[in-house]
């Protein structure tokens, strides 16, 4: 149970994020929901590589051989960088929409339909 806690928390954060994306009307909050899902995936990745009583995977002068997995950490770093780019792009879109439409509410941002 204790070992599974990070996974459960990741699932909870993901559900909160998806809920925010579905039920919030403000575009900024939708993007915040997206960031939450991303944080959940990052947490899941890092938790996957965790080992009890392990050290950072640096082999020089390592006191033991029990190390946490470095691959998932590299994947998380990559995803954080991608996430920053995505969030920046989405927020800049929201800025333009707010300037042109005068609102960032999903009820008014509906000119495309049919």
């Amino acid at each position: 149970m204790y070992y599974n806690l990070p996974f459960i928390i990741a699932a909870v954060i993901a559900v909160i994020g998806i809920g925010a994306m579905l039920f919030r009307r403000n575009l900024i909050k939708v993007i915040m929901g997206l960031s939450l899902v991303e944080a959940a995936v990052n947490l899941f990745l890092v938790a996957l590589g965790y080992r009890m009583d392990a050290i950072a995977p640096i082999f020089t002068n390592a006191p033991g051989t029990s190390m946490v997995l470095p691959t998932v950490q590299a994947m998380t770093l990559t995803n954080i960088v991608i996430g920053i780019a995505t969030t920046a792009l989405l927020l800049s879109f929201t800025m333009i929409i707010y300037k042109k439409y005068g609102s960032a509410n999903t009820d008014t941002v509906r000119k495309l339909r049919g």
């Binding site: 997206l34 899902v37 995803n79 995505t86 333009i96 929409i97 495309l112």
Partner: protein, 524 residues
């Protein structure tokens, strides 16, 4: 730099050239617009040439491997890796090479077209840079043999695509479409990453061949499969996750829409790669095959019925793109549904897969052509509304001819390429389930009806006074369209040649999981 060096490092150069060119474009742009145009033309031409060279190499000499950072890139398991493929490996098999051909041809035609269609726009440095990045995303997705790498290229594809959709702000409407596309793509990307994490947690590997060889199809694998399928089907614009497609396709600049079609197909490639290479017969192939078939039939039918009522020409074509994606899903889905039954697979399953895969190529050509003609009409008249357009056949004769070629091809009229692939799908699917085949034919007829309406609305009728000074599209745009039109006709006249030389190897590579694993891990 000699020929051997290029062939040996083709998979790396295929991505390095457009990526370096993309980031250098804003710098070169400071030297003047002529220098930048030459730079972009040279970069894209070189990329297409390398892509075609690589594809030729794959189709003549078999799967090409490229291990990044190894002394000998051709061997997947160098001695210093300890017998485990720890490095990122590009596994370019026949299916990947097939997609590379599509991207190379479409990219080249779109680049020529873009030089004229965007000539009056502002901010071209960024536009061309994003165009090249979109090419990088597509090529990377189809070439890589590493699922995390696949995710990274999927994100490059999504971000570049969304930024291009929103590039011409158009009172904010294009940005709205771009925002939708970006949100959908990002959530899809996160689903894919989550699925990758599930697979990595179980098998401790990111290489597709390693995962495929140890696939157990546990409960977690099923969750991963659902996440992969839903995210990638969403990105490829299949019903019921198609709602972003008409917005993004209609608001993007004409040149970019033609390339977005290829970008969506790269996601479709992802669906097929996951189902066939990662899981193959390990999964419940009949059930998953039927899910894909149902998605395909729904896409075909909903796409075409929504298209019939549209008034905006590009929106209408976008719904047809959804509909045509259904054909590919149907063909390949039938192949998957009988994957484990050898006799059924040999009699019609393989032909259905060939039809579906051939349709990907044909669709990229004729749909790209149609979007380019729509872009040319918008370029000259400034409107996309079918109610306002009319009588353009008098002044835009070449565009009209290209439109006719594309429209007949999409409706499946011989001797155009759409007929060739649709016939393969009809014949084989009829043996599997006659009802599905009949639905496919009805959808084809509705497609024809829809395009007859569009043709009549845009080109027929007397010359209208408000379009009296409309001229033919500029030469580079016509050349870009002509490339796609010639291929549309050529593939329709000689379909057997194309099927035998590139489509059948691609279908074989997809169905043969063992071959894929053996090419990386070496005869296990």
């Amino acid at each position: 730099m000699n020929g051997d060096f290029i062939i040996q490092n083709a998979p790396a150069l295929l991505l390095a050239v457009p990526m370096l060119a993309a980031f250098a474009t804003p710098l070169i742009g400071r030297l003047g617009s002529l220098a930048r145009n030459i730079w972009v033309i040279a970069a894209m031409t070189l990329t297409s040439a390398i892509g075609l060279l690589l594809a030729y190499d794959v189709f003549t000499a078999g799967t090409v491997l490229y291990t990044f950072g190894a002394l000998d890139p051709a061997s997947a398991l160098p001695l210093d890796s300890g017998g485990i493929p720890v490095r990122i490996i590009f596994t370019v098999d026949a299916m990947s090479a097939f997609m590379v051909i599509i991207a190379a041809i479409s990219g080249f035609a779109v680049m020529l077209y873009m030089m004229a269609s965007e000539a009056k726009g502002s901010g071209k440095d960024g536009f061309y840079a994003l165009f090249l990045l979109l090419i990088v995303g597509i090529l990377g997705m189809v070439c890589t043999g590493d699922i995390f790498n696949f995710f990274v290229f999927l994100e490059i594809n999504s971000l570049a695509g969304a930024a291009l959709v929103a590039y011409r702000v158009d009172k904010g409407v294009a940005v709205e479409a771009g925002l939708k596309y970006a949100v959908i793509s990002t959530i899809g990307g996160l689903f894919v990453l989550f699925a990758i994490a599930l697979l990595y947690g179980q098998y401790g590997a990111l290489n597709m061949a390693v995962i495929a060889s140890s696939m157990q199809y546990t409960g977690l694998d099923k969750i991963a499969l659902v996440l992969f399928l839903s995210a990638l089907a969403m990105k490829s614009g299949a019903v019921p996750m198609h709602f972003w497609t008409p917005d993004a396709y209609s608001m993007a600049p004409g040149s970019i829409t033609a390339l977005l079609v290829v970008a969506s197909q790269a996601s479709l490639y992802g669906v097929f790669r996951v189902v066939f290479t990662l899981y193959n017969v390990a999964l419940d192939y009949a059930a998953v095959g039927w899910i894909i078939i149902i998605l395909g039939v729904l896409s075909m039918f909903v796409g075409v019925t929504m298209a019939l009522v549209q008034k905006d020409v590009k929106r209408l074509m976008a719904y047809h793109a959804v509909s045509q994606t259904g054909y590919m899903l149907l063909g390949v889905g039938v192949g998957l549904a009988v994957l484990g039954q050898q006799t059924a697979f040999d009699t019609f399953g393989f032909v259905a897969m060939e039809g579906g895969i051939f349709h990907i190529l044909n669709h990229a050509m004729y749909k790209g052509l149609l979007f380019l003609t729509a872009g040319a009409i918008f370029y000259r008249t400034g409107t996309r509304s079918l109610n306002k357009l009319g009588g353009l056949g008098h002044s835009m004769k070449w565009t009209m001819i290209f439109f006719i070629i594309g429209a007949l091809a999409i409706a499946g009229i011989p001797p155009f390429n759409g007929f060739a692939s649709k016939l393969l799908i009809y014949e084989s699917v009829f043996l599997f389930n006659p009802v599905l085949s009949i639905i496919a034919m009805v959808v084809s007829i509705l497609t024809l009806a829809s395009f007859v309406k569009v043709f009549h609305a845009i080109f027929m009728g007397p010359k209208q006074p408000q379009y009296s000074d409309v001229q033919e599209a500029p030469l580079p745009m016509l050349v870009g369209m002509a490339i796609l039109a010639v291929i549309t006709i050529a593939f329709g006249i000689a379909p057997g040649l194309v099927v035998d030389s590139i489509v059948a190897p691609a279908a074989t590579a997809l169905a043969d999981q063992g071959g894929y694993i053996a090419s990386v891990l070496g005869g296990l």
